[in-house]
């Protein structure tokens, strides 16, 4: 049954859309920095080399150059994402570890001068043997990329839940398979940028195209040695993030250091090529799995091994390696699960987090193996999934609690809407239909650094004239619509209209919020916003009750008006005072109810500023085993998708003809935005399934660092997408809401893989599905069936 919401569940237009539609929205490169300097980076041309010496004298002498920084100018602070693996220096100290590793930074009066200065720096390199392949990196005798990492292992994970070997022995059918992926790029349209402004009060303000102002603030403070309270990180509008913008960049750090050195604003941007060199996108995965089941289709065991090609630094990789295992715990009942993961250093750009962090390719192989298992059992893949799907309230073998889970509803919805029953098995060769499922966290259960900190805080200030409220939050609107969601939740909780809520977000000065990653802000920032709004409402109602001499318990605000439990409210005198205060105004309050405007004004006059505070921290979650934190969340979104493809049997070309998706996002705060996230996730999944591959030449350089050669989907690649929004009521979410942004990508790749298998009769084991790979699968199938 629908509750009677005023704002939530609507299709309210986004708060930021008019600014973005008119070109007035300011992104990092649009900010004015009169009198500022431009920075540029010297990056390594070699994948692995010792730095024997450096001569910056010619660069320093160039007219217009204001500062040249190398490692010897900086304190030897190591930083990174996970405190357990801080392995990066802002500028290379003794070695460079990939083509693109930062060696020196220059600030000059204009970009051309800064780039010329960079070209004048001479570095004497002693080339070292380099590793582009993780298996070579793991081999005995391989050169070591980081001294502290023998075997070039950045992290290894070993987890077992139940006795997997015994369970596999008891199985009637076992399916074993593997899947290889390739290095990827986030493909966001806005290259990273930073603008640092150091002032004479000793404060540093850093504008950054980041997803995580708070973590950038911490890293900048740690690296510069400034107290956190003197580092202010402000995120302007950001042109997409998807994960790779979820950590402090060399631009953030170098611009800050150069501004501190010169006392001038310093602006730095990546070119598109540098975006590719910086990397930090999805890892390259090598998965192997064995899945065991009984003849009736009941899943019994999963044995899983994964090698992650991590690139030169740890970045998010520890979490990635854990997620690659833990996110297979659901959404099916799986009594036993064993996972061995190895995240390996190579001499390539570091890999990091990207939409569906760590779990996307694990999910792809698992769902593909489920389809093959269904074939073995003579079952329909939909039936196999429905037989094993978990229900709300169940806990996975790795102790993730599915407090709500509309998985069954999602499967049934996409099967019905896609015409699965009529199509599966009835399509001609070359046409295929495939389905897959997935689930994802609604925010990580723990912060990246070990801490008891709240995850989200919100300050909500009621305007002194009572005309509306401003929500102050450090959360990051990066295009996913979080400002809109926060405004809708605050409006609902306060009982006022959506248009009366202004959201100020993205600054560490506004509030503590961990930012936009792990699909967390709707649930976590949403909780904090709801609590802040409720706090403000309580303060207003108490003040009104006090002034009017009634019991606050009986009062409420709805639709911008005061409601009572029937007690008549004598507010004539206060309305008179309000009108007297606003002589000359033309919009005096009328009607037989006290308006929010008057109530808020009363509260301000009585008590001063009305500020509501809200904060959210997840309860303790997860098990006791090593790595139990990764994968935990207060709630899990889930989804199912059906893809239909046409495969050209002569060329191997795959065309996705349609995708039907259903996502359980808990209660939808904004239906349009839920669909928008689903559609965007599916397009990213389609690109990763079909096209996207960062290529390296034999010297370790990125061979295709452009959006022309690294192909993301164009409008012509995207089929019609059908979206079904499944609304469970999540007990741990604000108004029952949970995630959609990341989780919706989970089923896309395997749904396409399964459709291709349906079309050509054989299962691909390497992504992306370039025509030559698909053709090899078709020919392999032809050979095996012919022999």
């Amino acid at each position: 049954m629908k509750e009677d919401f005023q704002v939530i569940g609507s299709r309210a237009p986004r708060k930021d859309a008019p600014d973005k539609a008119t070109g007035s929205a300011r992104f990092i490169d649009d900010l004015d920095m009169s009198g500022g300097l431009y920075g540029a980076l010297l990056q390594s041309p070699l994948p692995h080399a010792r730095i024997l010496g450096m001569d910056t004298s010619r660069a320093e002498r160039l007219r217009g150059v204001r500062a040249v920084l190398t490692a010897r100018d900086l304190p030897p602070v190591k930083y990174g994402v996970s405190p357990a693996r801080y392995d990066e220096h802002v500028l290379a100290t003794e070695k460079v570890r990939y083509v693109g590793d930062e060696v020196a930074a220059v600030a000059a009066v204009d970009l051309e001068t800064a780039m010329e200065a960079v070209s004048l720096i001479r570095v004497d390199y002693d080339p070292l043997p380099y590793l582009l392949d993780p298996f070579e990196a793991m081999a005995e005798g391989a050169p070591r990329i980081h001294e502290q990492a023998p075997g070039n292992i950045c992290v290894e994970v070993h987890q077992e839940f139940g006795d997997v070997e015994a369970a596999l022995e008891s199985c009637d059918v076992i399916r074993t398979g593997c899947l290889k992926s390739k290095n990827q790029d986030g493909g966001f349209l806005e290259p990273h940028g930073s603008l640092a402004v150091c002032d004479l009060q000793g404060h540093l303000t850093l504008y950054s195209s980041t997803q995580v102002p708070h973590y950038v603030q911490r890293t900048v403070a740690m690296v510069t040695g400034l107290p956190m309270s003197r580092v202010h990180v402000i995120k302007p509008y950001v042109g997409g993030g998807f994960g790779p913008k979820a950590e402090a960049t060399p631009l953030d750090l170098c611009a800050s250091l150069l501004s501190m050195r010169t006392g001038r604003p310093v602006k730095m941007n990546y070119t598109r090529e540098q975006v590719f060199l910086h990397g930090r996108a999805r890892h390259r995965f090598f998965h192997e799995m064995s899945i065991g089941a009984l003849t009736d289709g009941t899943l019994k065991a999963l044995r899983h091994r994964c090698v992650l090609d991590g690139g030169a630094y740890a970045s998010f990789g520890i979490a990635t390696a854990y997620y690659a295992g833990s996110l297979l715990g659901g959404p099916y009942r799986l009594p036993t699960m064993k996972y061995d993961g190895y995240r390996v250093y190579t001499n390539k750009p570091a890999c990091g987090a990207q939409r569906g962090h760590g779990g996307v390719h694990a999910r792809a192989l698992f769902e593909q193996q489920l389809d093959l298992l269904a074939d073995d059992l003579g079952m329909d893949p939909v039936e196999l999934r429905l037989r094993n799907v978990m229900n709300a309230g169940e806990t996975t073998c790795n102790q993730l609690n599915m407090s709500s889970l509309g998985m069954r509803e999602c499967i049934e919805a996409v099967a019905a809407k896609s015409g699965w029953k009529q199509k599966r098995g009835a399509l001609p060769r070359g046409k295929g239909i495939g389905m897959a499922c997935g689930f994802f966290v609604s925010g990580a259960g723990y912060p990246i650094y070990r801490s008891e900190t709240p995850h989200s805080t919100v300050k909500l200030e009621v305007h002194e004239d009572g005309g509306g409220v401003t929500v102050y939050t450090g959360s990051a609107e990066i295009g996913q619509g979080s400002d809109t969601v926060v405004a809708m939740i605050a409006a609902e909780a306060l009982g006022i209209s959506y248009s009366d809520v202004l959201v100020r977000s993205g600054s560490t000065d506004y509030s503590l919020d961990l930012g936009a990653y792990s699909s967390r802000q709707t649930l976590m920032t949403g909780h904090a916003a709801k609590r802040a709004a409720e706090d403000a409402k309580r303060k207003i109602l108490e003040a009104v009750a006090d002034v009017l001499g009634v019991d606050p318990q009986g009062l409420d605000i709805r639709r911008g008006l005061l409601e009572t439990d029937g007690t008549p409210l004598d507010f004539g005198a206060s309305r008179m005072r309000y009108i007297q205060e606003h002589r000359g105004w033309t919009d005096h309050p009328t009607g037989d109810r006290l308006t929010f405007r008057e109530a808020a004004r009363l509260a301000f006059i009585r008590n001063g500023p009305v500020v509501g505070l809200g904060s959210y921290k997840p309860p303790p979650l997860g098990g006791e085993y090593k790595g139990a934190a990764v994968g935990t969340s207060p709630a899990f979104g889930c989804s199912a998708q059906v893809a239909e493809v046409t495969v050209d049997l002569e060329t191997g070309q795959v065309v996705v003809e349609s995708i039907t998706g259903a996502h359980d996002c808990g209660r939808a705060i904004n239906l349009t935005q839920v669909e928008a996230q689903m559609q965007g996730a599916m397009s990213m999944g389609l690109g990763e399934a079909l096209f996207e591959e960062v290529l390296f030449d034999e010297t370790g350089r990125v061979a295709n660092p452009t959006l022309g050669e690294y192909r993301i989907p164009t409008i012509l690649d995207m089929p019609k997408i059908e979206c079904v929004v499944v609304e469970s009521n999540e007990p741990n979410g604000p108004y029952g809401a949970k995630e959609v942004g990341e989780g919706a990508i989970m089923p896309t790749i395997p749904a396409i893989l399964n459709a291709v298998k349906d079309a050509v009769g054989s299962a691909p084991d390497e992504l992306p599905l370039h025509p030559q790979r698909v053709l090899a699968v078709i020919m392999r199938d032809g050979e095996s069936s012919g022999s």
Binding site: R11, P13, R14, D16, A17, P18, D19, K20, A21, T22, G23, S24, A25, R26, F27, D29, D30, G186, G187, F188, L189, E190, P191, Y237, V238, G239, G240, F242, T271, R272, I478, G479, Q480, G481, T672, Q673, E675, A676, Q679, G680, A681, M682, S683, M684, T706, L707, G708, I712, P713, T714, I715, L716, M718, K720, I721
Partner: protein, 160 residues
Amino acid sequence: MREHEVTLHVNGVEHRLWVPANRTLIQVLREDLALTGAKHGCGVGDCGACTVLMDGRPVNSCLVLAVQANGREILTIEGLARGSRLTPLQDSFVEKGAIQCGFCTPGMILSAKALLDRVPNPAEPEVRNALAGNLCRCTGYQKIVEAVLDAAERTREEDL
């Protein structure tokens, strides 16, 4: 580098400037005229975020030299709305949820405008063809297509 005098008609306003031969239209728009609506996404014509209309036709302003724009009519995203009054096309983008991060939006809207000016009643494939040079990583394009078709319908209704 030699500088050339050029006259640009941008959003109906005439600008006379001296520009080096290698200065691109996007540099002039963003840096000299402070029209930052055209976005710098790739610099090589792959992404379409810098799309503006030159004599009514969409161009990647990163691939057009300022001297090539001499004497031409340039329309940027800033030239569409009148104050806070958006055009029907912009309204459709806002209301249909066609905007997420917004970085591709100015170019996307201008490419769509060029289509609708030419073909007021496009079929969906025409919309997709017209926007094929504008990349968007956020939306999957579906709501963009819906917005353009919706705008065409609104404009027809207004014309009735």
